[in-house]
């Protein structure tokens, strides 16, 4: 029973070792990983290094420019709230939304795509029709409607955004599953009496991990962008909580009098998004999965 898995295991490990080696050689990928690690560390630890709280108001420092001579290193907003703490907590929320929603879309997409691709025939046809119809819908509007219906619960926001992301993932996984279904080790597993469910999750799913990892890396920035977009429109994270999107929105309205309110969160968001994109591209080259 374990023979087919053992047969593919060294091969798979080889792919990952090669990929890691190629990834380490890419300077862009190293820079991206460094930037993401630093931002994550800063988002987790930073707020504890500063005496201010995200919602405390400092009446003596209203709309203070950034500087190290006072306690508000990245300045304050017109309400006197510290932007260092607010930006980093916003980064934390944006990252959490990005990762959680990506996990939701990964789970749904992998299961749906693997079942469609492995089942084939009329089941596959029907499941792909559903995806076709869903991808024809303006899903952003459904998310907007959902956020209105369910109120502003952050967790529902994660789920709603994740529910958008799975369509492409399912398509990718299906394509891979169809190819893997024809391989000898799957046939061998079936001949050894493995059930379809076992074949699906032991043999098919592990072999689609490459493209899935690449696409997941590219999904995280998409979702962070989407969350900040919703927050910008006033549908996402609510005051006094902050996400990068809400900070940029309030910064955009103060852009002439307090440009740092726009520049600092925009820079953090841009660095985060660019790093994830660069990492995804580098992973795609390293794992050699072709265009997604």
């Amino acid at each position: 029973m374990n023979a087919p898995a053992a047969e593919s295991a060294p091969h798979a490990a080889g792919i990952w070792r090669d990929a890691l080696r190629r990834l380490r050689r890419s300077r862009a990928a190293l820079a991206a990983v460094t930037a993401i690690t630093l931002l994550v560390a800063l988002a987790l630890l930073g707020p504890h290094l500063n005496p201010n709280r995200y919602d405390s108001i400092d009446w003596s420092c209203i709309a203070m420019p950034p500087g190290l001579e006072h306690a508000h290193w990245w300045g304050t907003d017109p309400l006197g709230r510290d932007l260092f703490v607010r930006t980093l907590l916003g980064t934390r929320i944006s990252l959490a939304v990005g990762l959680l929603a990506t996990l939701v879309s990964l789970f749904v997409g992998i299961v749906y795509g693997a079942v469609a691709g492995y089942a084939g025939g009329s089941v596959d046809h029907l499941m792909m029709r559903v995806i076709e119809i869903l991808s024809g819908l303006p899903l952003i509007f459904f998310v907007i409607l959902l956020t209105v219906v369910f109120g502003r619960s952050e967790y529902l926001l994660f789920a709603a955004i994740g529910a958008i992301g799975w369509l492409t993932m399912a398509r990718i996984v299906r394509g891979q599953a169809m190819a893997i279904r024809e391989r000898e080790f799957v046939e061998a597993a079936a001949a050894a009496g493995a059930s379809p469910v076992r074949i699906l999750f032991r043999h098919v799913v592990p072999n689609v991990i490459g493209p899935v990892v690449v696409y997941a890396t590219l999904t995280v920035p998409q979702i962070i962008l989407f969350e900040s977009f919703l927050s910008f429109l006033g549908l996402g994270i609510q005051e006094p909580q902050a996400s990068l999107g809400t900070l940029i929105a309030s910064g955009a309205s103060e852009m002439e009098s307090a440009p740092w309110m726009l520049l600092i969160p925009s820079a953090v968001l841009a660095i985060l998004l660019i790093s994830f994109h660069v990492l995804g591209d580098a992973l795609r080259d390293a794992l050699d999965v072709g265009d997604l």
């Binding site: 119809i133 991808s135 024809g136 819908l137 303006p138 952003i140 509007f141 459904f142 907007i144 409607l145 959902l146 209105v148 219906v149 109120g151 920035p221 962008l225 900040s228 977009f229 910008f232 429109l233 006033g234 549908l235 999107g245 940029i248 929105a249 955009a252 852009m255 002439e256 440009p259 726009l262 925009s266 968001l269 841009a270 998004l273 660019i274 994109h277 660069v278 591209d281 265009d291």
Partner: protein, 308 residues
Amino acid sequence: MIRYLLVRLLGALPTLLAIVTISFFLIRFAPGGPFDQARALPADVVANLNAAYGLDRPLWQQYTTYLRHLAHGDFGPSFRYKDFSVTELIREGFPVSATLGAIAIAIALVVGVGVGVVAALHRGRWIDHATIGLSVVAIAVPSFVLLPALGLLFGIELHWLPVAGWDPTSIRDYVLPVVTLCLPPLAYIARLTRASMIEVMRSAYVRTAFAKGLPLRTIVLKHALRPALIPVASYLAPAVAMTMTGSLVVETIAGLPGIGRYLVQGALNRDYTLVLGMVIVYSTLLISMGLVVDVLIAALDPRVRLEA
């Protein structure tokens, strides 16, 4: 061909009906109503308003009434924009949004394909690296950062272009919104074209064309470009969706009289008919884009036949 189009268009009707139905009940289950105000209205006023708009009848009756009016091309009255019907709001705003979106997508297509081809032909050189690098930036920087930043630079610092305001006859008013809208799809199209062009230039028939001694320009334009454009064609529908999403932000920030702002406002105000009208307009647009994409791919790829 005509038969194919007819069958596809008929097939889109159930999809559209499903979308309308889901949206209708979804927005009605949202807490609150269209007549909520900061200072609550007297109960009998609300009751009269509800009666006037037919909101006092059972939900399924309102649904069938809405569908009947819709079949006659009537989107109903707006709840918040008093004295305006949703049809009037759409008729006024749609040309603005459609013009902006069409210009943005046209520019994204032409420039994106051009940049992608040039990058593919110079693979590994600085122009290729610059294309890849800049495209990541263009995709990653959100429109609500880009537009204020461009406004700060070209409007407030340099005084070259207006920051906000709208005069449909002035080209200068179009520049910043169009640039903001077209950059992300442009970057995607450039990357898609580059990748598929590199693929096509490696193929046997392109090598044959080189062996025959054809000039590079002929090979690229006559032989390589057409198959290389297939992934770009299938990207057109997502590009339109992306431009719609962008227009929500761009029209809000730049204060343009398009329909982009109606959806969010309508949803927040519980302006039921306005939200449904917007969902119908955008869904119809997306579904027809899907059809356009399939026809385009059949035109580009001789292996694909349109079968109803």
